[in-house]
Symmetry: C2
Subunit: 418 residues, 2 copies
């Protein structure tokens, strides 16, 4: 079978596929920042004003002019006259002159004339002043100008870019935007991913299967994967193994969605129909037909008139593993997301794993924490590659790179959590 000599590994195949999708991206929409968790910024966002917009105390203590404390020590305290207390949430009604100090709380606004704050624990009321009916404070340490003060713009300067286009929002970004009053945000629309299941043997999950029939797993597992990746899953139901039926359903989904995933029935004949249906949707059509990987050799990657179309094997493990490898990155690409570091776990492999040179394998593994060793043990889950519950039992997927002929027990391996 000479065709297999030309099969690409997943990374090469994805790169080739993406090179035909350079211009493909979804539009943008305005949403409330309060609901922007997990969304991807569609444009750079700049700070409309500095943060903080007034000088704030970083501690509880006394606002002072730093030079009034120079040389202060336990044996030779500096004495300053207390002129007031800074109210929270307001500008102080007074300014600070030479020889004066003011009580200030964390987050309070420095009075005009003050340039530093001395922490409460380095001060004490001056006994002499209390007797004399004046309010004086003893300072036992000096402070430098700016000490314990958050300067105007120290968190972010006015005009600085606070959110880069392509950033996926986490709680910290949501909070940062709120601090600047940016309560609406321009984000990438959620890519609509059409999902079609094909195969004469496939029935909806709510039906009772007769002999020879199986329930549709892929449309639901892939819907969940699409949603987890930030897309919107659009299910187009189950199509029989008829070229015309698949072509019609694919065309409708292609019209309505940003990308299309067809899971073929698992037989070779239905996979051929999938390739033909993809070709019918537009040029260039099928770009990659078959991958040098396991599971997932029959995967098809296509682009039809600017929209990505994927044919995944009907085998649910293969469909889901290749969903992680292709559908999730596609969704990120359609939103023009700048990827963040991907979480992986380093683990020690429990047994030898054989692999065919040149082929990339993904093994479902269970992870077990070995306290004594302070590390994770990765235990491969054996079983035929089409058993969905091997994947449900797994914590992650272990990758055997194409240039390896296997991995040895005890080797340190990377596990991608699923």
């Amino acid at each position: 079978m000479p065709e297999f000599l030309q099969l690409l590994a997943p990374d090469e195949a994805r790169a080739l596929w993406f090179s035909h999708l350079a211009e493909s991206r979804v539009g943008a929409e305005w949403i409330e920042t309060a609901h922007a968790l997990g969304r991807v910024a569609a444009e750079d966002v700049s700070a409309p004003h500095p943060l903080p917009h007034f000088p704030r105390s970083a501690v509880d203590g006394y606002a002072v002019r730093a030079q009034d404390t120079f040389g202060a020590s336990d044996s030779q305290p500096a004495y300053l006259t207390l002129v007031g207390e800074v109210p929270m949430g307001e500008a102080p009604a007074f300014a600070l002159h030479a020889g004066q100090c003011a009580l200030i709380h964390t987050g309070g606004m420095l009075p005009e004339g003050a340039d530093a704050v001395v922490m409460l624990e380095y001060t004490q009321p001056a006994a002499s002043s209390v007797e004399a009916g004046r309010a004086e404070v003893e300072f036992l340490r000096p402070v430098a100008e700016g000490e314990n003060v958050i300067r105007v713009g120290e968190d972010v300067a006015a005009g600085a870019v606070v959110l880069r286009r392509g950033t996926r929002l986490r709680p910290a970004e949501v909070g940062g935007l709120m601090a600047l009053g940016i309560t609406r945000l321009h984000v990438a629309r959620k890519p609509r991913i059409g999902l079609i299941s094909s195969g004469d043997e496939v029935i909806p999950p709510e039906q009772e299967p007769q002999a020879g029939q199986v329930r549709d797993v892929n449309a639901y597992a892939l819907s969940a994967l699409v949603e987890a990746a930030g897309g919107q899953a659009m299910r187009y139901g189950i199509v029989s193994d008829s070229m015309e039926a698949l072509r019609r359903a694919s065309q409708r989904a292609w019209d309505e969605c940003d990308a299309l995933v067809i899971t073929a029935g698992s037989s070779a004949s239905t996979r051929d129909i999938t390739a033909a249906a993809i070709h019918s949707l537009g040029a260039p059509g099928v770009l990659v037909h078959g991958l040098h990987t396991r599971p997932g050799k029959p995967t098809i990657l296509g682009v039809c008139t600017g929209k990505a179309v994927i044919g995944l094997p009907g085998n649910p493990v293969s469909a889901l593993v290749n969903g992680y490898l292709f559908v999730a990155p596609l969704i990120e690409k359609l939103m023009d997301e700048t990827p963040r570091p991907r979480p992986v776990l380093i683990a020690r492999l429990s047994v030898n794993l054989a692999s065919q040179a040149g082929r990339e394998d993904w093994w479902p593994v269970r992870l077990r924490w070995v306290g004594g060793e302070g590390e994770w043990l990765a235990e491969p889950i054996f079983g035929k590659s089409n058993l969905i519950f091997t994947l449900a039992a797994a914590d992650g997927l272990l990758r055997i790179p194409p240039d390896a002929t296997g991995l040895s027990a005890g080797e340190r391996v990377e596990v991608r959590l699923i």
Copy 2:
């Protein structure tokens, strides 16, 4: 200040706190499995029938009785009479007798009498039989009984537990349940986490702050964190630095929610009000007042008549970091979730980092992939600990354990992605 000698590290504090929440968990509700991604199973789920429920072919080929192929080879093929083709999605209308074979596709149901499948590539039509008007197939390899067949119950046996109580659903679990027709699921209700922001200086994000005022960051950053962890955020707005106002708002939130998070204004006086308000909600009240950690020393952990109440510092970095350390695990606990391995990245530290012995520090770090070294470089983000944009700029948090007095440049460190 002798009190600080008794401060607990975050892990110890959480364990103490959780020991008072042993009985606290939210109720359960029925939802559609198709919408169960990220939810936590409230009970064990068993397979109502075996999967597959009929013997299926794992390949494209010929269904046979294995013993009919024994000894078959290229030079001495076995010859079997072709009696039919198995239709997809139906039970074959024929049985297989000695000396017979049937064409079968991947996923097709084995005819009665068949016990193995020979892959198509190890067969060929028998030339002699075609001439004679009979359909015969040559088999060039033997198969063992069960070879290339997925047996009844091989994926999962009838009655086997397919989903353990406490499991958070991923795409694989959603798919597996659908395969069994389990379209509705009993899951833990999303814990309702009440969020109150306090502080005279705090205003809603949509308002224009005057001098001395700051916008409410914490309610929104923590809402996002609560949702990411699987909870339901309930915002109770901003309360002034008045004991009575905070007590009233806390009582209402406590009544309506499963747990309560109060972010105090950042001044010492508001933190004292928070502790008092927590005490007013019920016994035992405040359990932990202050942690040996940075940021987050003023964190308060309480339990009031069976409900967790947390006081977080007003400083938004501190609130968010301690949200990751306490609020997210609390949500998992309230759902009685069995935690999965947590994603961490191993990185090389770029610079020396000092730390105080006995204190646990969490540093925001940026991660940079160093291709030549094949590893991540963790670059700490310096800046005062209360600048929200230091966290927005970070990829993760680096932990300096309590027993370290710092970390050295070049050390391998664990980074928790945020």
